[in-house]
Symmetry: C2
Subunit: 269 residues, 2 copies
């Protein structure tokens, strides 16, 4: 018995190869499982080390859940988007999915036919997973968005994969009065939605490029209400139109063009 | 060689057992992987076969995004919960997580310190994953909720794992006028939230036991606004107090007690 083992050890049989192969498969799957586990759960020590308390809001911004924030909403004459968007308000699934989350909110709000959501089968809802249908994946792969988000034009192209009319405008192509006028028109209508792409640090938030829908406009204060999809960072805020416009004029290094806005309208209207 | 194989086949060596063991592990992991894949992605053919168009709303219910629904919200004098809840309105992660989703909405709305969200590290938000901290897992395991949801008392116990004051009331222990009075008081306050547990079919919805927060009350119509966390099924609806109360009186077969409501208040107030 001992001799046989020695012989097989030095000249592996087909069975021994299979055995090694299975060990390798098992080890690989074990390592993969551990890595997935760590990726999903995070290492507790790391989470504690990196955790942040709530971010402070700059004084120039008005949070929706303050007395002033609610008063502005009550007084707004251009808030048709608010209820439909808040009904589908959602948190971006990961740090780069602001565009995907904004697209889902708007598509759900429009009332167009929704895809089946695998987690809620047989029911239907746009989610940040099923948004990426084969047509959208031809525009941009979810893995790519997960790594670097999506620039303005791509957001427009993603939305245009669904039966809605889409208009994507770089801030450099127009001016604040034109944007304000278009935005108010959209926010007074039940058939259209506005999504903005802006540089956070320009409105004194933390910190990079961001995308979120706009739900309302307050004329007296000249402020827009941003439904910020990073709900782990900030509440919805009322921002001065001029501040938002400056943040939309900032150049996106991914596209080398300014940021801007997307208007989504019902296709049949 | 052939003899050896025959011999080993009838009298397996330790190495053969190891080989069989690895094959078994490999097969099990393969099957598990396939099952997980199917569970996550769904079989396309199945999804198509089972998919449902949008559910119709019974005429006795008023959707928030209709003219009447918005008018009721405008007119409501007991809607302090609406803005904070809508800021954290969320879809239940799976068909049984209505209680988990409702708990997250309320906990986020209270403004108590939030746990780090692994997907948004280092930022913080109550999610239907991190809600299940070790203390909550002692009350109920997420796997158990995933299979059968959670009854009223368990929802109360889950919420009580966080620094809030919790009052869970079975409908059988009180009456509609008492509930209505408590509910209005909660909805007029900025420091408290109301979650209801009711039988859907009793208000002519599809179909079983359900949990969702209440955001507002309209006195003239005697209706409550349910922020339905099954956003893949129904919009938020205004339901008659009496209809909701009947649905809350229905017995939950899991607990053999009636359903009811949970009031969540800031702990320090």
């Amino acid at each position: 018995m001992q001799n046989e083992q020695v012989r097989q050890g030095s000249q592996p049989s087909r069975r021994s190869w299979l055995y090694l192969f299975m060990v390798a498969i098992g080890t690989t799957m074990g390592v993969a499982g551990t890595l997935i586990g760590v990726a999903v759960m995070g290492k507790p020590s790391e989470a504690v080390a990196q955790e942040k308390k709530a971010l402070k809001l700059d004084e120039g911004l008005i949070a929706l859940d303050t007395d002033d924030g609610q008063r502005l909403l009550d007084e707004s004459k251009a808030k048709q988007s608010y209820v439909p968007l808040s009904m589908y308000f959602t948190t971006q699934d990961n740090l780069a999915y602001c565009g995907a989350a904004s697209a889902c909110m708007v598509l759900n709000a429009t009332g167009i036919e929704r895809p089946v959501s695998p987690e809620h089968k047989p029911f239907r809802l746009f989610t940040q997973t099923n948004l990426f249908n084969p047509k959208v994946c031809e525009v941009i792969a979810p893995e790519k968005v997960r790594k670097g988000g999506m620039p303005l034009k791509t957001l427009g192209e993603v939305l245009a994969c669904y039966p809605v009319k889409v208009e994507a405008v770089h801030a450099s192509e127009t001016d604040l009065p034109t944007f304000r006028k278009s935005a108010i028109e959209v926010l007074k209508s039940r058939d259209s939605y506005l999504v903005v792409n802006y540089l956070r640090k320009s409105i004194k938030q933390e910190s990079g490029g961001h995308i979120s829908p706009i739900a309302a406009y307050h004329e007296g204060e000249d402020r827009f209400l941003i439904m910020d999809v990073s709900r782990y960072k900030y509440p919805p805020v009322w921002v001065k139109a001029e501040g938002l416009w400056e943040a939309m004029k900032a150049v996106d290094s991914d596209s080398d063009k300014s940021r801007g806005y997307v208007i989504v309208r019902h296709a049949e209207k």
